[in-house]
Subunit: 221 residues, 2 copies
């Protein structure tokens, strides 16, 4: 493989951390609806981040996540009181990492390693610190610093600014097809982590590598 990748840059939600690991907490709050809540919640969280960016009405991803949870509970007609909201948002701050994350990060220790996420620091820091990933990462980059959600080109440009690298020196790793499309369109190398046998979006770009889990990216070392 001919490339000159210096920085491995990871999306957080869905890529390093399983967003559906909130399902258990959802189920405890609303018996029988845990799976459905976790799915709609995620879908609306993404949609609201896209729409707010388009509308020019940025709010932090934590606020967007709360809005999406409120929509979901309204939609499913289940009562979300303050206590349940706090419990579910706290669950989002303690998402489970995928099992191979730590070993893969360790094997890449001679590279620049970063997280680049739509999440605001009040969401990312509890996650990263809890699982002791901080010592393995050089940098946690949040779009909140410039209030431009992915997949805008301005958001991906923040990675270059923070890491001091060129586009073609970055391998961007995400399980989200929209994120891969945005990053590839911007000019990064891209590795799509396709854990569930999805198909790629028709947005005019293709990832440089497709892997079942994060171990696959070690061929870019």
């Amino acid at each position: 493989m001919v490339h000159s990748v210096k920085a491995f840059v990871f999306d957080a939600y869905g890529t390093l951390f399983d967003v559906y690991s909130v399902q258990k907490a959802c189920e405890e709050c609303f018996s029988g609806k845990g799976e459905e809540i976790s799915k709609i919640w995620r879908q609306k969280q993404l949609e609201y981040s896209f729409l707010r960016q388009l509308m020019g009405r940025y709010r932090t991803f934590l606020e967007v996540t709360k809005d999406a949870l409120r929509y979901t509970c309204n939609k499913l007609e289940v009562p979300l009181d303050d206590q349940k909201e706090e419990k579910l948002i706290n669950a989002y701050l303690r998402l489970t990492p995928y099992e191979e994350v730590q070993q893969v990060l360790k094997k890449l220790e001679n590279k620049t390693l970063a997280i680049f996420s739509n999440g605001s620091r009040d969401m990312l820091e509890p996650l990263v610190n809890q699982y002791e990933f901080s010592s393995l990462l050089d940098c946690v980059i949040s779009v909140d610093d410039i209030k431009q959600f992915k997949p805008t080109p301005a958001s991906y440009a923040l990675v270059l600014d923070r890491l001091g690298v060129n586009r073609e020196e970055v391998l961007f790793i995400s399980s989200n097809t929209w994120d891969i499309s945005g990053a590839k369109s911007f000019g990064f190398y891209t590795a799509w982590i396709n854990r569930t046998g999805e198909i790629m979006d028709e947005l005019g770009v293709r990832p440089d590598g497709i892997y079942n889990d994060l171990r696959g990216i070690l061929e870019w070392k």
Copy 2:
């Protein structure tokens, strides 16, 4: 009701024309999958218009609609050959208008009436001409003129430019909650046509009126 509405501006897809009326053609091409295809097709069409706007990779809505159809058929593992693609895209150019459209437009004939759509002219003109709405409308406004999809503020501003009105003189009518949110955030009066008992999005704005069908907007005359 205290207002000074001069222009009634209608979204096209889902508001005047039933996007799910392609279901019959989908069913003829792919027996047993018509409903599922029409739903995923619409969902992806919207998602791709949002994502292309965010990525700065505009294509016309007709092209986006074709891309979304290709994704849908890949996803459902049904073979889309050129003949079927042409048949289904042609069905999209002949969507069925909702039954009350003509009578409502006629009752508003002393107002400025316009369509404002993400659709490109190669999609909108066949639709409007087929049902002889042209004589009832003062203007068909397509975002394609400025290549800025709704719900960006720049797209809604095109309405002001084309109609020579101020924001507070516009009643914008849509069945799409994201479109209502964008238009209200921009400063239009908004009427949400909620035909199917949906709930409003949590994007920080609320429509000025909510109606089961287009007849409700006549109270703004």
